[in-house]
Amino acid sequence: MPSPRTTIRTVGIPARGAICRIYCHVAWPFRSVPIPLTQSIQLGAVDWMILILYFTFVVGIGWSLKRGMKSSNDFFMSGRNIPAWISGLAFLSANLGAQEVMGMAASGAKYGMMTAHFYWVGAVPAMVFVGVFMMPFYYGSKARSVPEYLKLRYDEKTRTFNAFSFAIMTIFSSGISMYAMAKLLNLLLGWNFDVSLWASAAIVLAYIFLGGLTSAIYNEVMQFFLIVLGFLPLVFLGLRDAGGWSGLVARLDIVATQSHNVAGQPYAAGAWVSAWHHMGSPASNPMGVEWFGMAMGLGFVLSFGYWCTDFLVVQRAMVAENEQAARRVPLIAAVPKMLFPFLVILPGMIAIALTAKSGQTGFALPVKGNAYDYDMTIPLMLKHYFPTGLLGLGLTALMASFMSGMAGNVTAFNTVWTYDIYQSHIAPRKSDEHYLWMGRMATVFGTVLSILTAYMAVHFNNIMDMLQLVFAFVNAPLFATFLLGMFWKRTTGHGAFFGLLAGTCAAAMHHGLTIPVGAESLFKGGWLGQVLHLYPSEMAQNFWTAIWSWTTCFTVTIVISLLTKRLKSDEELRGLVYSLTERHDEGHLPWYKRPIYLGALILLAVTALNLAFL
């Protein structure tokens, strides 16, 4: 059995799959080409049946929604009449790409229970915040996109900055999704890379072209159930194999004491099963972060920045049938979100525990270089435990989640392109049919550009790394801009724009002046020549880059706002700023429909979960 002692030395690379969903939307799970499989999986006829049946339904849903696509409002905004439970599950699902599922399982193996912070600290509180406090402005302003909100609240340049960076990022993300999927299918099933890529792109294109956002949302909900029902048996079987929860804990204690940190000291026995207990210093936990950097960097800046400002998810709440429903959307999504660690992180923990006793069970993670190949955790467990039949279901769930990752990005792209770039800069004042047509065209060329990005990923690894970094810099400060915009009416357009620029530069500077332990290229940091600080892990560096960037943006926005003249009157800011917006009386709603009660209940539940796995 290869020693898990080497794990900490390679901290960083596979973890990007996990962190980047939050950090910059782009996961990058397959950097080098791992060949961990001795042979590819042979699908049985029944597996094929399940797979083909699913894709027939996917395209069928798009087809049946086609009749309803009469205006651009139908195509981009689903006519704003999607029930809250559907938008809620789509809100969650749009974020839950396959890269997240696979990345979180990989992190579960690598870091253990601490990975749950990405859910309990890094998602749920922000989802409650966006539902309770921010949705009234997004929904009430009647903005059709997040950049459009920036236009209404600030000015054209702030919107354009956000629209362009977002549009490029969505194309990039969906391209990466396609690339990762084609690569995985090639590895796992021996399918041809090009055929997998083009076929998946064609399916996504077909159902969005036909049914617009509604089609994407409906398919995301299907995919949600497919992921839950497709991966749940894996948790049951794995847990049973590991000797139940107590057997798992005992095995993970061995894993912990056999691994060591950068300084060569072994971890305490519980390091893989407790979420908080070992966060006093970066040296005592496998993630290499301390509680403050985690709570501020991940829990505040990155998580709020992603869930509150990213149009990919916010779009799902914006199309709810009314404001109350829109506010419930993120809250509904938060409930399954807080339970997801048991579905996606637990398999990773099981995998590393089984690897530790692989003599008895036969399941072991493959070795890549001097560490385990964590990225392959989920596919290999599917292969190991699922017989023909269930295997078809598991693989369908995996493919479905890759494709909904693409679809979510394509729908966000076509909306931002059509409304925030095409309509506002290229062709204003055209007929609604024209914009509907443009939306369909944007879907086509968005997909084509994604395919090109996927091929670029094959050939130029470094360009991808660089783009990913740049987007991370652009994204990190965004939440400060929204927070000030929504809660301080004095914030000006100039303040917002230059605050964003300053925050982006601060992120780049911080990254350029620091490196994580074991950095092997300039993409990991230190590219300004001078290294001022050494972080114990790449994740710690990411968290602190975000903290610096946010603080800079926050401060600069305030200073410049105070120095510049306010151009928007109170009247113009009504519905966009907290103090100028009348609150709707929700007293007539039953308690379970009132966001404030729901939000409090969810926070209580997530606190209980944290305490249970302290």
Binding site: M49, G60, T214, Y218, F225, Y385, F386, P387
Partner: protein, 71 residues
Amino acid sequence: MRLDLRLPIGLLFSIFGAILVGYGLITPAEAYKQSLGINVNLYWGVVLCAFGGVMLGFALRARARAQAQGQ
């Protein structure tokens, strides 16, 4: 009226369930060595059928209600 999403979800998972149950019934026990000797196709197929059935039930009830209101 727009497509009720519960209909395709219910239909799809019921069919998935039926396929797995059927396949689970005809496969010999040794096919399940890798899944710890448990006939997961059969059992999970039943779960999928139940889920699909509940979704279909909701969808059909909503449709019946809409029709009753229409008359």
